[in-house]
Structures are given as C-alpha cells and as structure tokens.
Amino acid sequence: MPKMPEGTVMQRLAQLLFFSALMVFAGYFSDSPAYQLLESGQTELKLVVRHSGNIIGECRALDTGEIAALAPNMRRPMVCPREKAPMRVELDLNNKREFTETITPSGLHDDGVLALFRKFTLDSGDLILHLRITENPDAGGLPRDYEKQFQVDAHSTLIVEYTDSGFSSWQPQHSPRPRL
C-alpha cells in the first residue's frame, strides 16, 4: 500500500478525519443509546425480608463424660444448637402467584440472619398484595399472612417488608430536588 507523503495537507486531513470519527464514536457511545427500565405506566415493588431467624431445637445438658471430653477452657454444663429455621416466602399480586422461595439463614452453620431482596415491575393502578411467610415449612410451621390493597402510581416505589417486628409496607414520596 503506498504511503502518503508526510506532512502534506492530504495526510493532515486524513488524520483530522480519523480523530473526528474517533471522537464521534466516543461522544456517542458514552451516553447513547439510552436504556429504558420502566415503560410509562409501570411501577416498582421491592420485597424485603430481614429477620434474625428462629433457632431450631432446644438446649441440652451434657453428661459428665461429655464435659470431660471438652477442652478445659470450653467446659460447660449445657449445649445449645445454633442452627436456625429456613423460611418460605410466597407473594401473590392481584391473586396471582408472583414469587415463591424458601430462604435459608446465612452463615456456614445456618446461624445467621435471613435476608431477601427482590424487585418486581408492575402496572400502576389497583393492587391486591398478599405476602405469606412460613417459618420452618418442612417441620410444619404455621404461615403468617399479610394482605393489603394499594393504589400505586406510575413511576413510584412500593416497599413491603417482613422483619422481626412483623409486616410493614410503605410508598415513599418522591422528593424533587431543585436542579441548578
């Protein structure tokens, strides 16, 4: 391929073209095309579970042999299990099953907290929400239910939460801040 003579106008023009194309590329793709997360009329539901969990099993007294087998500084009369129960989470929206999951406690010994976060996209308008939490479902735990009706605005957030103190839900208000 022949090389353009150096320093000529043609060469400079070609370089100008190259850098312009590069800048158009960088300028364009650094913010376009945009990505649409929600269509107009859609809204968002956040489902949150944060619960310290319930321990399965009872404390048990150790017999003398067992105590003697422990290291001297670890000797104690009772052992208590640390393992906590799993929890089933079921969510119905407008009487339709939207989500089911059994969550397990965090931690290597299943002794940590139970936590869940899920985001759902829904259409705005009337909403019947039914959240059912069952602790230790495999061992016949009884479900706890939370049922509530909402009027959800488009482009808003609804949060429903289950914690140690029970169920709650809220719709935070959009707080416009002035732009300069």
């Binding site: 944060r50 907290v113 208000q173």
Partner: protein, 497 residues
C-alpha cells in the same frame, strides 16, 4: 492487520496509534488523573452536596470545570477502547507465549480495576445514572452466595443513604485508580524500555480532539438520584455500563457467567495457546567480553551482568531463562560476533541455543557461494514475524530469515558485502513501531545508523543497505523492492561497462 496498514498510510512513522495502544492507555490514564484531581477539589461528599457540586462544576465554571469533567469522562471512554484494542492486538500477535505470559496475565486484572474505577466515578455524581449503577451493582453482588445482608438494603428508599457513604465512595474512587496504576506498573515489569508515553504528535492530537469534543458535547448529569422512586430511562455509557442492561434484563447470574467466563478464558489463553517453546539465549564465557551491550538491548529484561568467571575485572552476561523469549536481539548486539577477527571463527559471547551466530554466517556464506555470479548478489534479511522471504531465493537473491532482524550482527553485513561480494542488502521485518519483539527494528536501525553499538562500520557497505519494514503480509512490497534493487544493480553494471 489490514486496519494497521491502512492507518500507516496517513500517520507519520512512529505515530500510528495502533502501534502504541499501551502508551496511549497510560497517557489517557494521566489525563484522567489530572482532571480528576481538579474535580476532587470542588466535589462535596454529601448526599445533596455531591450532585449540586458536580452541577456547579459543570455549569458555573463551564469554561474550565465543565471541560475538565468532560475530559475526565471522554478520556475514560477512550481508555476502555484503547485497552480493548490493545488486548485484541496482543492476542492477535500472540504476544502472550513463553515468558510473555506475565504481561498478558497481569493485564487481565487491570480490566476489572478499570471498570471498577470508572463506575465508581459515575456513582459519585449521584444522579439517576448513579442510582441505576448503584442498584444494579448491588444486584450483581447480592447474587453471590457469600452475601449476608444484601447491598440493596442500603438503597431501599431515600432514608437509607448517608453522607458517610459518599466518603466511602470518594475513598474508593481514589483508591481503585491508584491500585490500577500500581497494576499498570506491574504489567510492564517484565519488559524493558516499555513505551509508556505515545509519540508527541499523537498525544497532542488526541488531547486536542478530546477538548473539542468536550466543548461540543459537554458531559452532563441526569436528574438527581431519588431512591424514593425507580429510574425510568437511563443514558448508558456503553464503554463501562455494557453489562448493566443485561443484569436488568436477565438477572445477575447471566452477567456473572459472562464476566467470569471472559476473565477465566483470558487467563487461560497463555496456557491453551502455548506454542512451541523457543530456544533461548546462552552465554559462552569464553567469548563474552562483558561489554553489556546485550544487557542494554534485551527487550525483556532477561539479561543481567555479574563478575566474569574467567576474566578478572570484567563483567559477564547472564541470561535469566524464565524471562528469555528467544528473540536473539542479544546475539545481534554481541561485538565478539564479528567475522573479521582472525582468532576465533566468529564465535560470539551470546547466541541462540539452536543455531549460534557463527553457524548462521556459515549457512549464509554457503548459500551465496553456491552461485558463481555471486558478485551481483542481493541479500534479503527478514524475520519470522514479518514478510516471508524464503520464496525469493534465486541465483542472485539469498534470503536469510532470523527470529528477529535485531538478531543480525551489523558486522555480518560489513563482512558479506566486502568479502563475499554481496552487492546490496535489503532488511525487512515488522512494521516500524510494531516489532513482534518490541525493539528489534528500532535497535537495528540505530546500529545501521551508527547511533548504537555494535554499529555498521564501512561507508561503502552502508550505501548498499536498504531497509523496508513492510510488516507481516508485505511479501509483494518486498518482492518489488528486491526486483528494483536488481535493476539498479544492472544499471550500475551497464554504466561500469
């Protein structure tokens, strides 16, 4: 390769950006560092202050702050681009084989650090894009089974984010780029004379072009973040946020598969495409005179000097086998390779293990002598990575292919022209700035031009040597040049007659 050759046409020698992507990446990094420092002075680390302060940098001091911000953004975008092309190019050139695995493998974490640094920057603006990035990053990490309390809990609504969070962000957005810089220095540890600054013309053009872009299309914020409601539409920086829409569409699992998949695949490249190990350089203490020229020329930092085993008060070269790539540039730098000395048949102090310098000379001599009309001979010296030259062999053309043109001791040209009747020499190889062994072309040019030891000695030989760095695939160009040289010879002969 085609693109490179195309750009060669209109960039002055040595300023083709595709041949200095590593250096361009360093340059862009420094622009980001300087502009970032400026922005940092005016940035406020609080929930409301963050957004407001960036807005005021952008609009109230558009003439400087606005440009600084835009340069910061666009240099980052171009950095992602240059690193990506750098990676593709090094991959295409297989510059990850043998001891060169180090540069390759140490490059991979740089990608992660680069992405983390840049995304952290967007986060600081605390506009809707930052909100989207925060929530999506949370989704990405919350997917990992090690997570105890989901990160998303930190962004449930407007009450959950605190000013302290911004102090953490600033800390990360300074710390991660510093880690990146450290990684960049580690990345170039195993090579010597690494080019970390692009040709001046290229650097200035790039900076100028970015300033123009910053004026024409200043970097702006979206509306302020508001965790009390979802983000509806977000402008995406496709250089850095490219996996985010995927996370939003299909969940973090697919993104992890892709991200870890690419990372692992990249890390495995040197293992999978190992290639045939090349013979490395070996020092012969009987001939090494301790001049250190090979030490100075080695592109891979694979040679060091120690006290000589046999000569008092002399140094001796040592080759580090783990670092030696087998380019032979050291053999070309060895002054003891000269065939003019009477005592030792051109044996030299450092050679490639498979064929020593003396053997190369003998092989070439024999080829030339096979043809009685050797006085019209063209010697073509090429390398294993540039244009193929073996097919040029004829009664009057002797091709000599080396691992790298830098492997040729210039004294061989002096000798072959003066003693074996070679009439002209054509040196060819990789395109300038694109030498497979990094420095071979540059070093050989300097030796021929008397700018570096060992140099070409004789003026009458100097005029017989032409260089044509045609690059891989440049066979036709080389063939044409050889034909031209032969024609020139004939014209000269005719004149003499």
């Amino acid at each position: 390769m085609k693109v490179e050759a195309f750009l060669d046409r209109f960039f002055p020698a040595g300023s083709n950006p595709l041949y200095q992507l590593g250096a361009v990446s360093f340059f862009l990094f420094w622009i980001i560092a300087v502009t970032g420092l400026y922005l940092f002075i005016f940035f406020e680390t609080s929930i409301t202050g963050a957004y407001q302060s960036v807005e005021s940098i952008t609009h109230e001091q558009f003439y400087i702050g606005g440009i600084m911000r835009s340069l910061h953004r666009y240099a980052s975008a171009l950095l992602a681009l240059s690193v990506t092309i750098h990676l593709i190019k090094e991959l295409g050139m297989k510059r990850f084989q043998g001891p060169r695995w180090f540069s390759w493998v140490s490059g991979v974490p740089l990608i992660w650090l680069l992405f983390a640094s840049s995304l952290g920057g967007y986060w600081l603006v605390w506009d809707e894009k930052a909100q989207y990035i925060a929530l999506t990053t949370a989704a990405l990490f919350d997917y990992l089974p090690i997570v105890v309390e989901p990160m998303a809990f930190g962004f449930l609504d407007g009450t959950t984010v605190s000013d302290r969070f911004f102090s953490l962000l600033i800390f990360l957005h300074v710390g991660l780029p510093l880690a990146l810089l450290l990684g960049m220095f580690i990345h170039i540890q195993r090579i010597s004379n690494s080019s970390t600054f692009p040709a001046r013309g290229l650097a200035l053009s790039l900076l100028g072009a970015m300033v123009v872009l910053s004026v024409v299309k200043p970097a702006l914020s979206l509306g302020p973040a508001d965790l009390n409601r979802p983000v509806q539409t977000v402008q995406v920086d496709w250089f850095y946020m490219n996996v985010f829409p995927l996370i939003s569409e299909t969940g973090a699992g697919a993104a992890w598969v892709i991200l870890l998949g690419i990372t692992i695949a990249l890390l495995l490249v040197p293992l999978i495409f190992r290639g045939v190990p090349k013979p490395i350089a070996i020092v012969d203490p009987d001939y090494c005179n301790g001049c250190s020229w090979c030490f100075a020329d080695c592109p891979y930092d694979a040679i060091y000097m120690k006290p000589h085993e046999k000569l008092a008060n002399h140094l001796q070269s040592v080759v580090v086998a783990d670092k030696c790539v087998g380019c032979g540039i050291c053999a070309g730098a060895c002054p003891t390779a000269t065939p003019f000395k009477s005592v030792n048949n051109a044996y030299s102090g450092i050679n490639l293990a498979d064929e020593n310098n003396a053997a190369i000379l003998v092989r070439t001599q024999e080829q030339i002598r096979q043809h009685p009309q050797a006085d019209k001979h063209v010697l073509v010296v090429g390398c294993a990575h540039g244009p193929q030259i073996d097919q040029l062999a004829s009664d009057v053309v002797t091709p000599l292919t080396l691992e790298c043109v830098g492997q040729l001791p210039p004294s061989y040209l002096d000798y072959l022209c003066r003693k074996e009747g070679v009439d002209s020499v054509l040196l060819t190889g990789c395109a300038p700035g694109n030498c497979f062994h990094r420095l071979g072309v540059e070093l050989q040019e300097a030796r021929l031009a008397h700018e570096r030891e060992p140099h070409l000695r004789f003026k009458d030989v100097h005029v017989k040597v032409t260089t044509l760095w045609a690059g891989a695939g440049g066979e036709t160009t080389v063939a044409r040049a050889v034909a031209q040289l032969q024609q020139d010879e004939r014209i000269a002969d005719a004149k003499d007659a």
